[in-house]
Structure formats: C-alpha cells, structure tokens
Symmetry: none
Subunit: 421 residues, 2 copies
Amino acid sequence: MRPSFWILSTGTELAQGRSRDTNSAEIARKLADLGFDVIGISILPDDPEIILAYLQWLQSRNDVTALIMTGGLGPTSDDHTIDVLGRWTGSALIEDPTALRRLEAFARLRRRIDIETARRQVRVLADADVIPNNTGLAPGVLGSVARETQPLWYCALPGVPSEMRPMCDMAIDRLREKIHATPVHRVEFHVYEEPESDFQKTVFNDGALAADALKSDPAFRWGVAAMPGSLKAFFEHETDERVITELQQAVQSHYGERFLHRSVEELLPEWLLEKGITVSFAESCTGGLLAKTITDRAGSSAYFAGSAVTYSNQSKQDLLSVPEGILTTFGAVSEECALAMADGARRAFHADAAVSVTGIAGPDGGTPEKPVGTVYSAIVTANERIAFKLFYPMDRERVREYTTRSILFRLYRFLQKRTGS
Amino acid sequence: MRPSFWILSTGTELAQGRSRDTNSAEIARKLADLGFDVIGISILPDDPEIILAYLQWLQSRNDVTALIMTGGLGPTSDDHTIDVLGRWTGSALIEDPTALRRLEAFARLRRRIDIETARRQVRVLADADVIPNNTGLAPGVLGSVARETQPLWYCALPGVPSEMRPMCDMAIDRLREKIHATPVHRVEFHVYEEPESDFQKTVFNDGALAADALKSDPAFRWGVAAMPGSLKAFFEHETDERVITELQQAVQSHYGERFLHRSVEELLPEWLLEKGITVSFAESCTGGLLAKTITDRAGSSAYFAGSAVTYSNQSKQDLLSVPEGILTTFGAVSEECALAMADGARRAFHADAAVSVTGIAGPDGGTPEKPVGTVYSAIVTANERIAFKLFYPMDRERVREYTTRSILFRLYRFLQKRTGS
C-alpha cells in the first residue's frame, strides 16, 4: 500500500478565505511527485478545540500514514499548534536550546522584540524530534502517536513559506526513512482543444488505448484536469514504468500536435526566445488578455513587441490600417478583418509574426450568423497568412480565456512548422 | 449561535497540489463577509470511499450547520460527487430535465460531443433541490441529512469557477432561508491605497474610531480583506444598526475620497457610461492588464476605445508618437514619457481621456534610482494633464495588479472632479 498523507494548515485568515494557503498545495505536489497519496488537505481556524478534535479524528483513521501541519507556531496568542500537539500526544513541552540561542541573538539585533513573548515560539515537544528552522525562529517537530495498527506520523512546520519550504524537505526525507517509502513512475502532459469528456472516451472508454487489465490494476492511476482550451492529464504506475511510457506514446500519437509535454504558456516564450522570434498582437474581444498572458512572465520584452487593443472600428482603421471596405463589407468579426488586423499589428510593431483576434465575447452582440462565442483569428509572418474561426459558445470570461489559450497554442504550432522545428 | 460552515473541494489534481483550489477561499470569503463562521476547509481526492467517509464524519459533528462542496460533477468516470451524495443521503439519482435539454442543445451546436458519456453530469438527487447551472452543463444540488440535533445542510456545485460563482450565490441565498440566519446589520466599503495594517491602527487601535465598549460587544464584528491597491472592510452588528452607520461615517470622513462604497471596477464603468465619456490606455509594464480589467464587463465598448500595449521603445514612438528625445533624455520609465504616452493614446483612439502606465514590474530591470516597482502614470483630457509616480516594491504579479487598480481609482476620482460630479 502506498503511504497516504494528510496536510493540515491552520489560520483563521486562511479559513475565512482572506489569505491564500499556498503551503498545502506546494507540499501536496512535493508528496505526489514522490509517489505518495495525498488523501486530504484541510484548513482550520486558529481554534485549539477544533484543531485537537481534528487530530483525534485523523488518529482514528487507519488509512492516514502521516500528517504534515503548517502554521500556528508563531509567538502570538492565536498560535496554538505546539500546545495542541502536547495535549494530543501527551508529551511535555520544552524549550529547544538551539532555537532559544537563535532568538536571543536575533533579539540583540532588533531591540524592539519582547523576548518573553517571543520565546513561546521556541517550545517543542519532549517526545518528538526537532526540525531546525535555519531561516526564521520557530522550530518544527516530527513524531508519532500510537494507533491500533501502525503509528500515525506527524510533523508541524511554520506557516511562513520561506521557512516552511526547506524544513518540509527535511521532514519528508526523515519521514521517508521512517515509513520505508518507494517512488512511483509518472508522466504528465497537456492536450489542447479537446473537451474532458472526449478525452475520457477516446483514451479510456473506446478501448483503443485502454486495456481492461490496466483499468483494474490497483498500481495504476490516471487523472485529468480541464483548463480553458486544454486539459492536463497524468498516468502513474507503482512498479511498471513501461506501462506508463507506452500509454503516453499512444496518447501522443493519437493527438499528434495537440499533445504537449508542458503548457503552451511555458513552452511558447522559451521557444520564441531560443529562436529569436518577436511577436505582436491585435486584439478586439480578448481586450488585452492575450498581451497580459504573454507578459505574465518576466523577460517577455525579448520576444513580445506589443499589442494594439482596438475595441472600436475607428481604432482598427487608425492603428492597424484595416481598410474601411473590409469593415463595411465583411464586418469587424470576419476572417478578412482578422487578416487585416494581423497585417497591421505586424507592421505597426515591426514584429516577425503577428496574431489577431476579433470576435463576440458576449453576452450581447450575437447574431444568428455570428452567435456569441464566434471568434476569428489570423496569424501572419513575412511569407504566410492564415486565418481560422474558433467557436466557444460560453460566457464572456470563458470565451476570452479559451480563445487566448487556443490562439497561443495555434501560434506555437504554426511557427514551429514554419521554422521546421 | 452563528451558523458554521464547512467547505469541501474534491479533485485528485487539487489534492496533489497540481491545480490550485481557488473556489474554497472564494466561498469562505463570501460566507465570512456575510457573518458566518467557516470552521473548516478540506480538499479530498476523487476517491468515493474517502469522500463518503468524510461526509459521514461531518454529519457526526453537531457544530457544522452546512457544507458547501465543489467539484466532481463533470461527465468523466473520476467525477463521483452525485453518486457519493446518493449513497450518503440514501436518495435516488434522477436526470434533471432542464439540464438534459441544455446538454442536448449544446450537443447540437458542437457535434463532437458524445451525449451518452456527457449525460452523466445532468444527474441530480431525487430528494434534494436543484441549483440550475446557467453557464455550464452540470446542475448543483442542495439538501439536508438528519442528525441528532438540527439537520446538516449540504450543497454541491461544479468546480469550474465561472459556473460555481453564480450558483454559489444562489445556494447561499437559499441556505440562509433554510437555516433562518437572521440578517445582521452590515456595511461594506472599500478604501483605496491604504495598507491593511495602517487601517487597523487608524480605525481600531488609535481609539479615535474605536470605543472599548464596541470591541468587547459580542454582537459586533468587523473584518478587513486586503486587495491589490485597496482594502475591503465590513462592520456588522446583530441588533444595532446605528452603531454600524456611525462607524462607517467616521471612516468615510477620515479617508475622504479614498473611501468608496463599491469597488472602482464596478463604479468607473457605470459612471463613464452615464456621463458619455470615452477612455483609452497606453500600457507598458501592465502589459494589457488595464485593458483586460476594463473589458471584463460586458458593454465596455461604449466607453473604452482601446489600448496600445507598447512594450518596446520603438512602438512607443510609432503608435503613440512619443518623441525620441523624451526616451533618450528621461527614459521610458519617467513622468515625461508617461505624459507623452497618454497624449498619444488620447489622439490615436480619439478618446475624451487617456491614461498611460510605464514602469518596472521586475524581477529584472530595476536600478538604484528606479527600483523594481517604480511606475509612472499620466491622465490627460482635452484641457488637463497630470502625471504621478506609484511605488509598489513587490513581485511582478503584484506590481501589475496594484498598479492597475490604483490607476483605475485615480482615473475615476480625477474625472469626477473635472466634471464636477
């Protein structure tokens, strides 16, 4: 059986959604990458009774191998973790001498600190190991409580991410030894422009890729997450790497160029940078989202020249030199307009390639011929011009998100073909 | 006693930390804003046995009034929510006729969908209410299970945020009726460009606004949530409306024009529409985020002409006619460049007013004189030009978000003064 972990964050601000818990997801991912099962993540407010009841309940579950907690190790009166662990495990609380020396040295540097309040946070459990905190002040603890079957391992770490991170690596290393864990084989990939239900049907229901033996193999796992315009999936096997590799190859050869090992938001910038290619955009219905997405990454000025967000017809003429005749004959939401906009964006920004997008994001503005969700896009380079139509009959936010990701994907594949790489 | 909520997200990708659960925090915040206690948030993998055991455990806790679940309502075989709820509550599963009609209509538009696989997601519980999904395909359910004391209410919603959001509002409205949550007196407001810790000190610690009697009044609550460039706060009293109103008035008179009853993202578009004023942008470091934010709302073409996302110096000259001398003398990140960019954007888009933003979002590109987080912005109309400097020494994402919201706020207040309203 795979070791199963539970992750618990404490903090009233987290439980009320006013601060974001980034620790749990980060720890979960670390554990999953090592092939452990994460069978639950919980966030509880800073209430010692609620936390204690939860720990007792976890102890009663024989399917949890280990628990990793973050938060509540600080010096203020709403930090309860060590006290609650003491009550739960029956261990005495003691001060960790190393952490106390660090605190005293720190207090000499920053005179405003009140050491009597602050030393609450150097307390650890007499019956547990100490995980040293080399970044901040509060040490962590790692121990176990007895249970009917095997013991339940637990570890408590500070909530500050920069302190938690190295301490968590240390704690996981120690836990792996204690629970004798072995790693699993895993692949992860992205498929673009494929609905989740179709992926399931193609990969698992229709048999071509899905052997019955595999479906009933308890050592095998798969999962899929829908994202706007794409999906992310994984296959995992506890012992047999070949099964996983073959399955991925089958999916890849089925989906061809729609299959990517990483997301296009990661791949496209790296590739543009490597090839020294610059791009520019002409956006209408995405209203700047295409530009915003490509500039989310630092260093984007090396391959992104700019975007003309031309919401009005007049600005399509003025900034992008779209001929008035195209707008009156075909309308702004047309293949012809998309091509003219892309030409204009390429010239205006002196880019190697340009992409345009013009469509109806809704909820108003749809017609029987061009309902909400109709989007035209064009990609142009010095030598080539292509236009295509997308159709996402969805709400405004999703039309914009799906369109943005589809267009980045198509731009990536288009440019790859043209440069022969 | 205040009603206590538990929030549960399901998804193996979420439990493994491979996708981020944004729903739970969003729902927690909604509930906390309404004055409910959130006493736990959990994420579980797509494993029906784990989910069922958890539901049974929640049912055994008499301190949980209601449970809101998200995820697992999709069409694939790893979507288990309805089946698990059926096993837990003992209710039969039926197809929701409205959702089935929506699915059939959707399938006619997109021929590739396989209706037999897809119709799994229109199943609901015979013994629970249906929460209609007007955005996507899977309906939600809302019901209750018996317990020793009062029943435990539950509601299950899709995991896709754009579907979950309106359905959650609907579900909370219904739950408030079912659990007879008495409405409290409540005010909510926004304060711009004020750090949360300063707000706390000004409003509560320094006594001017904070009576001791109020702090110890169990019927009184307040809360503050930090948002990029602003904060949102609430005051709440279970019985005394006057306390709340007076407190809000004191805060409003202290903060003056930085106090807004609603967010600027809501107020600015309504106001521009009412006044018939058009705006355009010239963006550098925000990379389209300003345009994206104002076009998030439908109907934005009535007041938004467009934005020139000019990432390179060349494009600032070409599209916005920024004189080369300004770029060489003062640099792209300067008051002078911001003014020239705004002038250019007003002319290029024929707008009544234009705003520019040019700065260093980081993590690279900072200098001792202009460190990361330095941003210059200008607002120009036919008669007036102002420029200002913002400084947000933060990470890239936050520099962009704080800048965007500050600039929209300043644009709103600037234009209001000039039009005398």
